[in-house]
Structure formats: structure tokens, C-alpha cells
Amino acid sequence: MGNATHGATTVVEVRNVSKRYGASGRKRSEASVTQALDRVSFAVAEGEFAAIMGPSGSGKSTLLNCLATIDKPSSGQIVIGGRTVTDLRGRQLSDFRRDDLGFIFQDANLLDTLTAYENIALALTIQHVSAREIDGRVREAARVLGIEDVLDKRPFQMSGGQRQRVAAARATVTRPHLVLADEPTGALDSRSAAALLESLEALNARGATILMVTHDAVSASYCGRVIFIKDGRLFGELRRRGADRSAFRHRIVEVVASMSDDQGEGERDAAAHAAQSEGAVPHAR
């Protein structure tokens, strides 16, 4: 498995990132301010397959949006592929998203009017890659993800798993610095989920750096590292270090459980409930 190798270049560096909502003016009372992220820092090395885990309301979606340049942190810096994305504006932002990021959404988010082939090719055509090169790269990505036979089909003719793998192909075909996956298995049955995660492993083995947000311990167990986040703060991280997947999963579940235990003693009961109910998901599988 192509997991993190020590000494590799850093692709993502999150430095002291905070995000406050409702804090635009100083006159607002402290109570009306929501601290979604609180001085979060971590780094992802090139070729890593990492997961960010946390219960609902933990701030993981806010973190993902900041990484995806859809949202801006209130303070702190995010550096991706050597560029400080928190300083980018307008045209630079869309160029950055186009050239340096790949997205996999929860619901594949393919264009329903286009075939699988065209959906994958679209990521390249908006980069103005030459037509000759596009064909080779699309077919190569399809081969890696095992979706060659659906290339001429439209999304409504495919299964959910196939759609998600087409989305994965679209996200990686541009060879971005970083692939962001937002609950990619959320809408899939367990078999399709496993197939997709294996595909992501395969892509990672070929050099793609993948950062996946999930609340599912099974999904997270495919990764080389899991970063836990709770109440907008880093809770800790687990490294797989060549461990067996089911053993790794047990360790993840333990951490998740400890997160919710800790929450039970805290002040925010509502968040605890959310964490507990979500923590139960891995057991259900």
C-alpha cells in the first residue's frame, strides 16, 4: 500500500486555521459567535491517503470547504502544493481548483447530460488539454478504476458505485496535487463502498494524494492515517503503519468511542448525542 513515506514533500499544510461564523462585527456579543474551527494545524505528505473523521458539527465540513477553497478561514493559512490558497482571489481561485484539486462528492455529482467518458474528459477540456492527450488519459483512468465498459453510458444508466468511480476518475484524471473526497461512500451500499475504496487505494498506489472526509470507521480503515476532529479542534490522529485493516478499524472505533465518552462529560450534550449516534454506524456494518 502506498501510504505515507517519511521524508516525502508536504502537499497540504494547514497552519493555525480558525473559522468563526457571525463574527464579522466586533459589536456582536460573544454568545452569537460560533467557533467552527479552532487553531487547527496538520500536514499531509505527498502520496498519502488520509481521512478526517469527526461527528456532525465537529467542523470537518468547514475544514473541507476551506481546503477546497470554497470557504475562507477567519485566520490561519492553508498551503497546497506550495501555494498559499488562503491568499488566492477570483480567477486565481477557479484556476487553482481546476488545476490543483480533484473533487469526489457524496452524490457523484456527474453531469446527467454527458456520458461517463465526457464527464471524465470535461475535467481535462476545461484545462485546455489537447484532444489527442485527453483520449489516452481518460481511457487510462477508466482502466485503473474498472469502468471501461460504462464509458459510453449516461449517469442514469449506471449503478451508484459506477457513478462514484466515474467521479473518482474525473477527480484524478487531471493529476491534481490533492484529491478531496467528501463522504464518497455515503450513498453507497457496503459492497459498492468497498469497491470504491479499493479503487481509491489503487489510485493512491499510483501516486495520488487523497484526503477523505468520513464518519465511517470502515471507510477510514482503508487510509494510512486518520485525523480526528471534534468541536473544531484536533482530537488526535492514528497512523496505520502497515497494520491489518480490521485491526486498524478496531483502533479507529476505540478512538471514536473515546471521543463520544469524553463528550458525555462535557457541556455540549447535543453534540455528544450526534457523535454517539454516528459512532454506532461502524458497528452496524
Binding site: S94, D99, D112, L122, T125, H128
Partner: protein, 702 residues
């Protein structure tokens, strides 16, 4: 409170209301401007004939306006439905928050009222300007000056204003009622989930589209050929076939167009795989099932509008240009003395004392009029008239020449040439003969060369298009006619009008050597053509003849009809101007209707596609690239119906030119170009509103 919400909504979604506003505004402006035209009578110095023509124009525009109002009702309701559909979720939210259905209905009605009142006000202002413009157009067309000494007058019609406001108030009420019904009937769950109603995805067979597109082009080509080969002269089966084929071809064209474009571009890989080309084409192709019908209708209606406007204006120009040919004389006085058909024989008209007087004068119209005018003290014939020439239309009372006889002699059938434009049973009507000496005198008076006929020869005169082809062919065949027992060979055809007349009146009369006129021939009609030295003399002559025509004094010449050159010009120009105004009015409304339909359709599509544009943005497609894709989509929808309609129109106008050639050279010049520019400006305005509206919808979507 409700008013505040309504005001806020209108302010927030100005661009959503853009198409609605533009449509109502243009509708109001045109409706007012054309309905106020009769008010020009108060401002322009019209002649009496022009006044009558304008009364007629007013009446016809009144009738046409009913149709226009109907079109506008449809448009306003259609535009409203788009607005409501877009905002179902918002209405759902109001209801969720506990607002009563009645209140939501009131908000919608208030919004319509605000936008309606604003567009009505602006539309009326534009309408005032437009009617002022029309005033100058009329003034130029009719050569009638503004009566006011200063040469400027503001034309305003309170009637038209009231009418416009009333019609549009009614339209708004209808629209508001329909909106209210939509909102009141909708279920809350449907309103809230309006977005989720996904259209069914259909697969289109691309090679089939290619074949269908080729077929559509072929069908349209065949219909063009049929039309050009057979013309419009007669409603033949070929003409019907061409009409059906052009409709079928057009529908097929739009059904296959997007598939064809897709397949075409797919074959050029570097083009297909660049930027958003494939997205744009797939986008167009995905809507084909919902749009091909409306695109076809828009195309055909545009075709109708372009053809009627260009044809109408061209016809007017042709009429005005060729009227010279039928106004060779200062005036023509005609008198009918009887009628003839092969069934009834010669039936003299009951002219009483007038008839006896005419007989006393030896059927000499000039002498008769001279004496009558003197008797009545109506004027001095000789002082007013420089020259006169009389032409008698004669028939053998025992065995007159009829149309049926000519058909038999030539072996031709008139109906083959004139189609349905001749009345049934025309065979029994007479073909009159004229003395060559009289014809030559009339030709000489018009400054034309004289005609010479040899022994046993005759010539045919007809200024009517209905019989022209028939007689020309009969001359070619060397037809021999039996006139009063003598055989005369038709040697030439002449299209000259032997009188001053607004319409062709002579469908065929045979000029024969004087000695060939049958013994005891009866006069069916006498024409007296005169030339006057000045326009004043001409007018005085007209009045003098009118006095003779109206008197009950039996010792005067019977006058059936008299026409002076000025009267003919006024009437013809007036009538054709009425026609062109109507064509412009209708054409304009139809263009607005087409553009509005296209605009609304495109905007609702952009609204449906908003999530797709949102995804493109997430994938990093720059705004310019997405704008470009929207531009191309809107352009295809606006350009292709117009382009095909123009192609249809060119073909139709080529044929219409043949028809109009009867009146003179079809000149689709300046006026038509100005109209085309106006129409294009309106069309362009809709295009711009649509493009910017669609772009906004795409960029605000998530």
C-alpha cells in the same frame, strides 16, 4: 406588510421580471401607437379620399387589435407562468411559515400589479413616441403636410389611451386570476419540492438524427423547388404540397438539429474536446424533446411575419411605381349602356331619359358631357379639356363573342391560367370588340404609338393579370376568332390600360378594323378619356362630371363612374399604405411574441440547469467559459429559427415577386430594410435580456 414583501420581491428579482416587463412594454407601445393612428386625421392635411382610407385603416386596426390582444394575453400568461414556476419554493416557504393562501395570492397579484403598472407607464411613453414617428411616416407616404402652420404637431388619442389601458388592465386581471389559481391549487409538498421534479432523460439516437437532419434539409429543398417552379399564381396541388412539406421539413429540422450539431462536432475531436463544447452541445440536445415544437412554431411565425412585412411593403412600392401605367389620362368617364351574356343575350340598361339623351347625341360622350355641363351650368367642357378620346365596348346583340367562344377557338382553358381567381360560369360573359380607330385615338392621347391591323387581323387588349397569360398563349397559337361572321386572326396582345383606373378593369377586349365591327353592334360600355392642361383643370373637370352624374335632369349624359388621376393616386396609395401598416403592426407583434417565447423558454431552462453550472464552477471552469457556453446555447435558440425563417422568406418572396410583377417591379427597399432593422433590434433586445438573465440564474445557483 404584503405590499412591502411584494415591492421587495420585485426589486430583488428585476432580471427575472425583465422579459415580462419588456413584453408588456412593447405590447403596450405598439397597441397604443397603432390604435391612435386615426388621431392623425386631426393633425394632417388629408384629402377627402385619404380621409376615407384612414377611416378604413382605423376600422381594420380595431379588428386586428382584437387578435393582437389575444396574442398578448397568451404572452403575458406564459411569461407569468415562468415566474411562478421559478418561485414555487418561495411560495411554499410563505405557506410553511403560516401565511394564508389568500395572502400569498395577494402578494403575487400585487407583484403583477407593480410590474404591470410600471411596464404600462413606460410602454405608453414609448407608444407616444412611436405614434409621433408614425405621424411623420404617414405624412411622407401620403404626401400630406402637418396642418399646423409650425409644421409640428403632437398627436395624442385619448380613445387609444383609454382602450390600451382597458385592454391591458383586462390582461393583467386574467393573468392574476390564473396565477392565483396556480398558487391556490398547489399542494404545499409540491411547492417545496418543486426543484426535485426531474425531467425524464431520454436517449437520442445520434445516427438517426443525422439521417433525419439530412431528410429535413432535402424536404425543405423539395418544397422550395415546388414553390419556385409552380409559383403562387394559383392554389395548385403543388402549392399545397409545398406548404405541407415546408412545415414538415421545419419541424424535422428542429427535431434533428441538436443531434446533428452534436454528431457533427463529435467528428471533429479537437473541437469537441475543447472547453465546454461537449457540455454545450449535450445541453442543447437534452432539451430537444421539449423545444423542437416551439422552435418550429417560432420559425414559421417569424417566416410569416417577415414575408408579410416585406411582401406588404414591397406590394405598396410596386403599386405606387406602376400606377403610372393606369393613370395615362387626366380623367376617365365611363357609362354602362347594357349587359350581355350568351344565356340572356343583350339586355339594355334602363337609363330612362338619360338613355334617350345619349342616343340623341349619337352616343358621343364628349358632345353629351359638353351639352350637359352647359345645361347645368356646371362648367365649360372645352375650357377644361385639352384632348379627348372615346372608346366604345361593343357586342353583337344577336351572337356576341363570349369567353367560352375564345376558349373554344384557342383550345385553351382560362382556368388553367387563372386558377380560382376567376368566377365560375365566366364562359357566358362577353368579349367586347373595339373600333381600331377609337383605340388608336386613345393610344395617341396617352402619347403611345398607334396600332395597325391588316385585313383579317385583330388584337387583344387586357390590363388584368387574370387573363394575360391566357391571351398571350392564344396569340402565340394564332387563334382565329369569329366576329360578326368574319374570321379574324389574333396577332398581338397589349397590356395597355385604355383608361385611368385604380384597378385593372378590362379583362380582355378585341380591337378590330372599323369595317369588321358587326352590323347593329350594341354599346355595352363607353369610356371617355380626357387630358387636362393643369391639375386645377383636372379637379374642375372632376367636379363638373360629378355634377352631371348627380343631377336628375334627364337631358344630360348618363355617367356611371368617373375617376380623375388624383383620385386614383390617392386611393391606390391609401389602400396600399393601409396594407403596409397592417403588415408592420402584425409583423411587429408576431416578432415580439416569438422572441418572448424563446426568451422565457431559455430562462426556464437556465433555471433548471443551475445545478449543472454550479458543478462546472466547482470543477474550476472559469466564469468566462461558462458565460460562453450560455451565450452559445441562447444564440442557437435565437439564431436558427431566424435563419431558417429568413431562408423560407427569401424563397417565398422570390415567388411573391412574380405575383407582384403584375403591379410592377417588387422593390423591397428602404422601408422594408428599416422595418427589418426594427424587428432585429427587438429580437436582439430579447436575446440580450435572455442571455444576461440566464447567466445570472447560472451564477446564483448552488
Amino acid at each position: 406588510m404584503l405590499a412591502k414583501i411584494a415591492f421587495g420581491n420585485v426589486r430583488k428579482s428585476v432580471s427575472d421580471f425583465g422579459v415580462y416587463f419588456l413584453t408588456v412594454m412593447l405590447g403596450v407601445a405598439v397597441f397604443y401607437a397603432f390604435n391612435s393612428m386615426t388621431a392623425q386625421q386631426g393633425v394632417l392635411a388629408f384629402s377627402e379620399t385619404q380621409d376615407r382610407m384612414f377611416d378604413l385603416l382605423g376600422m381594420i386596426i380595431g379588428g386586428v387589435s382584437a387578435f393582437v390582444a389575444f396574442v398578448l394575453v397568451f404572452l403575458v400568461v406564459y411569461a407569468n407562468r415562468f415566474l411562478i414556476r421559478r418561485r414555487k419554493k418561495e411560495f411554499g416557504l410563505y405557506l410553511m411559515l403560516g401565511m394564508r393562501t389568500g395572502d400569498v395570492v395577494k402578494i403575487v397579484a400585487l407583484e403583477s400589479l407593480i410590474v404591470g403598472a410600471a411596464s404600462l407607464a413606460v410602454g405608453l411613453l414609448v407608444g407616444f413616441g412611436l405614434s409621433q414617428l408614425l405621424l411623420y411616416v404617414t405624412s411622407a407616404l401620403f404626401q400630406a403636410d402637418v396642418a399646423d402652420a409650425a409644421g409640428f404637431a403632437f398627436v395624442f388619442s385619448a380613445d387609444a389611451l383609454v382602450q390600451t389601458v382597458a385592454v391591458f388592465a383586462a390582461i393583467f386581471v386574467i393573468a392574476a386570476v390564473l396565477n392565483a389559481r396556480t398558487v391556490a391549487r398547489a399542494k404545499l409538498i409540491d411547492l417545496l419540492q418543486a426543484e426535485r421534479a426531474s425531467e425524464d432523460m431520454k436517449l437520442t439516437n445520434l445516427p438517426l438524427s443525422l439521417a433525419l437532419f439530412a431528410a429535413s434539409v432535402a424536404i425543405i429543398g423539395v418544397s422550395y423547388k415546388l414553390l419556385i417552379d409552380n409559383g403562387l399564381m394559383e392554389p395548385s396541388p403543388q402549392f399545397a404540397a409545398a406548404t405541407v412539406l415546408v412545415c414538415v421539413g421545419t419541424v424535422l429540422f428542429f427535431y434533428a438539429l441538436s443531434g446533428f450539431l452534436l454528431k457533427l462536432v463529435q467528428m471533429v475531436k479537437p473541437l469537441y474536446l475543447s472547453g465546454l463544447a461537449m457540455f454545450t452541445l449535450r445541453q442543447l440536445n437534452s432539451k430537444v424533446n421539449t423545444t423542437f415544437a416551439s422552435l418550429s412554431i417560432v420559425c414559421l411565425v417569424l417566416f410569416l411575419a417577415i414575408t408579410s412585412v416585406c411582401g406588404g411593403i414591397g406590394m405598396r412600392n410596386a403599386l405606387v411605381g406602376s400606377i403610372e401605367a393606369s393613370t395615362a389620362y387626366s380623367a376617365t368617364v365611363s357609362t354602362s349602356f347594357g349587359a350581355y351574356t350568351s344565356e340572356t343575350g343583350y339586355v339594355p340598361a334602363d337609363l330612362g331619359g338619360f338613355g334617350e339623351f345619349a342616343e340623341e347625341q349619337g352616343w358621343d360622350a364628349a358632345a353629351g358631357l359638353r351639352a350637359s355641363a352647359r345645361t347645368l351650368g356646371a362648367g365649360d367642357f372645352d375650357a377644361l379639356v385639352e384632348g379627348a378620346a372615346q372608346v366604345d365596348f361593343l357586342v353583337d346583340p344577336d351572337d356576341g363573342l363570349t369567353m367560352g367562344d375564345v376558349e373554344e377557338a384557342s383550345g385553351l382553358a382560362l382556368s388553367d391560367f387563372a386558377g380560382s381567381s376567376v368566377n365560375d360560369g365566366y364562359e357566358v360573359y362577353p368579349v367586347c370588340v373595339m373600333r381600331l380607330s377609337q383605340v388608336n385615338a386613345a393610344l395617341e392621347l396617352a402619347g403611345k404609338p398607334a396600332l395597325s391591323l391588316g385585313e383579317g387581323e385583330c388584337a387583344v387588349f387586357s390590363d388584368s393579370d387574370i387573363t394575360r397569360g391566357f391571351y398571350e398563349r392564344a396569340v402565340e397559337r394564332g387563334t382565329t376568332l369569329e366576329v360578326g361572321g368574319r374570321s379574324l386572326k389574333l396577332t398581338s396582345f397589349h397590356g395597355d390600360s385604355l383608361q385611368t383606373t385604380p384597378f385593372p378593369l378590362n379583362t380582355g377586349a378585341i380591337a378590330v378594323p372599323d369595317d369588321a365591327v358587326p352590323e347593329g353592334a350594341a354599346i355595352i360600355q363607353t369610356l371617355l378619356n380626357v387630358q387636362c392642361a393643369t391639375d386645377a383643370d383636372e379637379a374642375a373637370f372632376g367636379e363638373m362630371v360629378e355634377a352631371v352624374a348627380e343631377t336628375s335632369e334627364p337631358n344630360t349624359w348618363p355617367v356611371t363612374l368617373s375617376m380623375t388621376r388624383t383620385e386614383v393616386l390617392d386611393q391606390s396609395i391609401g389602400l396600399s399604405t393601409v396594407v403596409s401598416y397592417l403588415a408592420i403592426y402584425l409583423g411587429f407583434v408576431l416578432v415580439v411574441a416569438c422572441a418572448a417565447i424563446l426568451a422565457i423558454q431559455q430562462l426556464s431552462e437556465a433555471s433548471d440547469s443551475a445545478p449543472r453550472y454550479g458543478l462546472l464552477r466547482k470543477l474550476g471552469a472559469p466564469e468566462g467559459m461558462i458565460s460562453g457556453s450560455i451565450f452559445v446555447q441562447v444564440l442557437v435558440y435565437f439564431l436558427f429559427p431566424l435563419a431558417l425563417a429568413v431562408a423560407h422568406s427569401c424563397c417565398a418572396l422570390a415567388v411573391v415577386t412574380d405575383v407582384v410583377a403584375v403591379f410592377g417591379h417588387l422593390d423591397i427597399a428602404e422601408t422594408a430594410l428599416v422595418c427589418a432593422a426594427c424587428f432585429l433590434a427587438v429580437y436582439g433586445a430579447y436575446f440580450a435580456v435572455t442571455f444576461f438573465g440566464a447567466r445570472k440564474l447560472a451564477f446564483t445557483g448552488k
